[in-house]
């Protein structure tokens, strides 16, 4: 059954996942490409028609060949020129890649496009759709043969990393030895959970928020006992936020 991503492990041992294109996006891209082909052919026809009276037979033949060349060659030429993208794929942020996450080679792009007729059998790309649904990497038969996948292009969007909810004054920092002990005793999994809770606190319902922070505060309070003046009047959530700041930042 199809998965959502193409999992790759680099030679350096770093794993990462490339999101695969969904069926709806691929269908939309195909429709855009068909419209593009129609636009090119219609433009070509109107140019040829202007010269039809000069040599009707030659122009008639040229029209037939141009239509055939555009409808058959569009995918091949565009994907080679645009590094795995046609107009439809570019607009929808999709790209054809080698299934090893490398750029597809021209021979692969030719093969996947030449095998398109078998994917369109018996009608409306049913064979291709069935193959996409059944294969691990959502490949139509042309992609399976060519060793290609259609992925969503990745844009590296820089995030706002300053959402740690840092407060101006952190009473826990007034006790550096205890803060160091907290860092030492907190398991990475618990630290990660606390950080996630702080970053995603706005997504929680009020009840869940109280419950989650109550649980985390209980665990963290049990690791190190800070003096009463440092923690009194702190809610569970405030305690966890201050603990997370201590855990994830050494700067004062």
């Amino acid at each position: 059954m199809a998965s959502d991503g193409l999992e790759i492990r680099t030679p350096e041992g770093v794993p990462f996942t490339i999101p695969l294109a969904g069926a709806a996006a691929r269908m939309m891209a195909l429709i855009i490409d068909l419209l593009a082909i129609m636009a090119i052919v219609t433009t070509g026809l109107s140019v040829f028609r202007a010269f039809e009276r000069l040599a009707p037979d030659v122009i008639g033949g040229a029209v037939t060949l141009v239509y055939f060349a555009v409808s058959t060659g569009y995918g091949i030429v565009m994907e080679i020129l645009w590094n795995g993208q046609t107009l439809g794929k570019r607009l929808l942020g999709l790209r054809v890649m080698d299934q090893g996450a490398r750029p597809a080679r021209p021979a692969q792009l030719v093969i996947r496009n030449l095998l398109r007729p078998v994917d369109s059998l018996p009608a409306l790309y049913l064979m291709g759709a069935a193959s996409c649904w059944l294969t691990q990497h959502r490949q139509r038969l042309g992609d399976l043969a060519a060793g290609t996948v259609v992925v969503r292009t990745r844009v590296s969007v820089r995030g706002d990393w300053s959402q740690l909810g840092r407060e101006k004054y952190n009473s826990l920092r007034e006790h550096p030895a205890l803060a160091a002990r907290l860092r030492q005793r907190t398991a990475p999994e618990l630290a990660g959970l606390a950080l996630d809770a702080v970053l995603r606190r706005e997504e929680l319902t009020p009840e869940a928020r109280v419950a989650v922070f109550g649980l985390l505060a209980g665990k963290l309070r049990g690791l190190v006992e800070f003096p009463a003046e440092a923690v009194e009047a702190l809610s569970d959530e405030q305690y966890v936020r201050r603990a997370v700041e201590v855990l994830y930042s050494t700067s004062r």
Binding site: A101, Q108, W161, L247
Partner: protein, 329 residues
Amino acid sequence: MILDLDRFVREGEPRWQELDAVLTRMEKHPYATVGVTDLERLHALYQRTSADLLRVRGLHSEARLRQYLESLVSRGYTAIHGVTDRKKASWFGWFLKDFPRAVRRQAGALALAMALFWGGSAVGAGLLVVMYEERETLFPFAGLATKPSERVKQETVERSKMVAERTGRFSAHLIQNNTRVAIFTFALGMTYGVGPTVLLFSNGVYLGAVAMDYVKDGQTMFLLGWLLPHGVIELPAIILAGQAAFLLTGALLPRGRRAPVGERLRAVFPDALAIMGGVAVMLVWAGIVEAFFSQYHEPVVPYTVKIAFGVVELGGLLAFLQLAGRDGE
């Protein structure tokens, strides 16, 4: 170890942004030449960012930061490990060497395609002899139901005049139609051979039945004069498309091999593509000959001239496929 996220982001961000800028530039111009210094810098940035990603993944922490680094690493991996084929294709060399070599190298698939097509032709011819009274049931088009001698009379009197006015259009139609059939035959190789087997055999049956119909009606000269000039190129082209299709089929079937199916398919790509490219060239030639030469009959063009033309073409094709590209093979 617990990560000092604040410091981690502060120190890492300049190189992440630099890597993003380099990758964006390379993605916009995938075929541009990249200098050694730039490549070294790219590699260094990629490796540092990969290490950063590993640190973040290990901590199971901030999802957006992880996604950001993952996107940089995946783009960097593609840029570094993807090799753009910059070798300039020599179309002339490819047609004169790669195409005939591929046809010879894959003799088994060619023999199978030929056996199916010519076997089908023999069956079609035999069926026509046996079922001569119900001969029209063997033909794919109703237009073939009339006696060949009547069609020949019509063709020789009217067709040459009619065809002369639309040879360009007709030629283009033939080229695109035959090429479409060839591509379809090739693509059907992915149906584990069922598609090309049915296509080659059924087309052979039609051809054999129609040819025998002309022979039995005493129109052998007309048939040869009409069919040979383009048929000696067009029919082998369809058979070669079947050969390329059976290469795909052969790769799909494990036949005791351990290599995964993708690897087996990619191993036959070069030959399959070389053959399909040759098929396209052959069909363009056949389309031109069929429209501009085959459709003219006696008295415009004597049958002997047309037959001789076809025989010369066939000899040329066989010699080309047998001998071309032998050097360095």
